[in-house]
Structure formats: C-alpha cells, structure tokens
Amino acid sequence: MPATWYVNAPFPVREDIRQAHAAAWDRIARPGTWLTGAQRVAIAAETRHARTACALCKARKEALSPSSVDGAHDTKSDLPAAQVEAIHRIATDPGRLTESWQNGLGLDESVYVETVGVIAQLTAIDTFASGLGEPWRTLPEPVSGEPTRRVTPGAKHGLAWVATLDPADAEGEDEGLYPSGRPPANIRRAMSLVPNEVRGFFNLVEVQYLPGPAMNDFDNEYRAITHAQIELLAGRVSAINQCAY
C-alpha cells in the first residue's frame, strides 16, 4: 500500500512516514465508529474546500470576531450544516473556537469527535506534503460498510468540552489506549470518546514527532533535527495558530 506514497517527492521520505500516511488514508476511507467511509471522505474533501475556497471562512478569519460575519459556507458536500460549520471553523480558524460555539452546533458528541479525528489526520498529512512542495494526494475512494457504533463505556464529562475517558476507566477493549506507568497528556485523552481516533492519530504522532520513550530522552537524538529544534518548530506552529495548549 505505501508503495506509491511520495515516490516522486523531491526529497526521500522515511519509510515509517510512508507506511503511516498510507494507513491513515486507508482509515479515512473505511467506515469508522460513527461515520461511514463516504462521510469520512466527505469530511476530508470539505476540509480542503474550507481551506481553499470558502469566502465566509476567509471573511471570518479576517474579522475581529468570527461571529460578527454572517453568511453561508461554500460547501461541496451533503454533510449536515452543523458538521460543515464545524469542519470549516476547525480547518480555518481553530484558535478562536469556544465551548459555547461547540455546544451550539447541536452535533452528537461522538460524531463531532470523529469529525475532528478525520480533520486532524488529513491536516497532518497535507501540511507535511506542503512542507516538501508535494501536491496534496487525491482523496481515497470510500469503502462501503457500516460504522461499528461502539459506545465508549466509562467516558465522562469534566476534562474538556466533550466526554473523555479517564485512564482508570480504560478497560476491556480500551485497555492499552494510554501508555502505562505515567498519566497520559491531555492531548492523548482529547478524542478518547472515540478511541479508534486516538489510535489512528497517535500512529501519526509516533512518526511525525517522536515515539513516546524518545520524547523525554534528551541524551539521544532520533531525527535529523534535535529535540530543541523539534520543540521550536512545534512552538512556532502553535503560536501561529494561536493555540495555547
């Protein structure tokens, strides 16, 4: 499957990245926990459309307050309006999202989290391609089938705007979702209402950032850039995105 990924890239791409990106593309195409493959691919297409072609998103991004600009999103999917609003705002202006905005969408929390998961995986891959000067890869064809509709027992409200799974409640199928021996970072808990989105996204984290044990191993370097250079890049991106996490 990864055989065709980055074969014509101007710079050699590590095999683990090629494998992880091919796997992510496959996940986007397949039925998820609450969404069909067609809905997941539509979310990916809508994300790209929001970045490149939505006049409302552009006007809101430039406004002092996004809520001061009315209008309709330029959309290219049949997704519900609330989901389109979520996709466009997360894709184009994530630093000004609020809990009241999220609550006001009226989207099922699990559907919302799975939508975030698809946007996140696509964003990680598309941004990487842009960095190398590669065109964004054509989206996959959806795979037919039904979502699992597996409810996450033990997920509770309190940490974030949506329910999340505390490590102490990660049992059964969810055992092993978090690293053992230390509390998970909140970013790892963020999408735990839909555990498969955590697993998929952290597959990308391991190859695009660092595997867990390497993150705090400052005696050794694992990439062609140092820990300090990695953190500088991460911090700069977050500052540009106005993300305080």
Binding site: L97, A124, F128, T164, A190, V237, N241, Y245
Partner: protein
C-alpha cells in the same frame, strides 16, 4: 513576533521558525526559499523531519482547540514565564 526573531538560541532556529511560518501561512515563494535554505544548511533529511513536525502540530492544535482540552497543570506552571513572553496567554484558548 516573526520567525526571524524567534530562534530561541537554538542552532538554525530562525531558519526553522521561518519554515514553520511559510508552511502554515502558505506563501509559496517564501516556502521555496526557506525550503532551499534548510536543505542547503541542515540537509534533506532535516527538511523531511521538519515538515513532519510542522504538519503534526498544525493538526494537534486543531485537536486541542476543537475539543477544548486544558493545558496540564504541571506544564502551565513550568512554562509560565515563556508563555507570558511569547503572548500565548492572550490567545482565546489560553485564557481558561
């Protein structure tokens, strides 16, 4: 703050910060120049690893902000001065 001033006393920090800025802002001409700069200075492997990090954190920021997760207390305490210095606490997501 612009990338050119934000090297953090890290080798080639300004170049890397400019790369992050060019990728996220999507300026093709600037991106071409800084990409060439990284390859010539740090090598092609470093460019690939830098693009990977920028891509990942462009996604992580969206997860964090869309889900509304708070910064861990220990991280907030250990980075208070740095967060004040770069203005992170003024961001909407940094006020909680």
């Amino acid at each position: 703050m612009n990338g050119g001033e934000a090297d953090g006393n890290i080798p080639h920090g300004a170049l890397l910060a400019n790369f992050a800025e060019a990728v996220v802002s999507g300026d093709p001409a600037e991106l071409r120049d800084v990409r060439t700069g990284i390859v010539n200075t740090l090598g092609a492997e470093a460019l690939v690893d830098s693009a990977a990090v920028v891509g990942l954190f462009n996604a992580i920021d969206r997860v964090a902000d869309a889900i509304g997760i708070p910064l861990e207390d220990w991280k907030a305490e250990s980075t208070t001065d740095m967060r004040e210095a770069i203005g992170v606490t003024a961001f909407p997501s940094g006020r909680g």
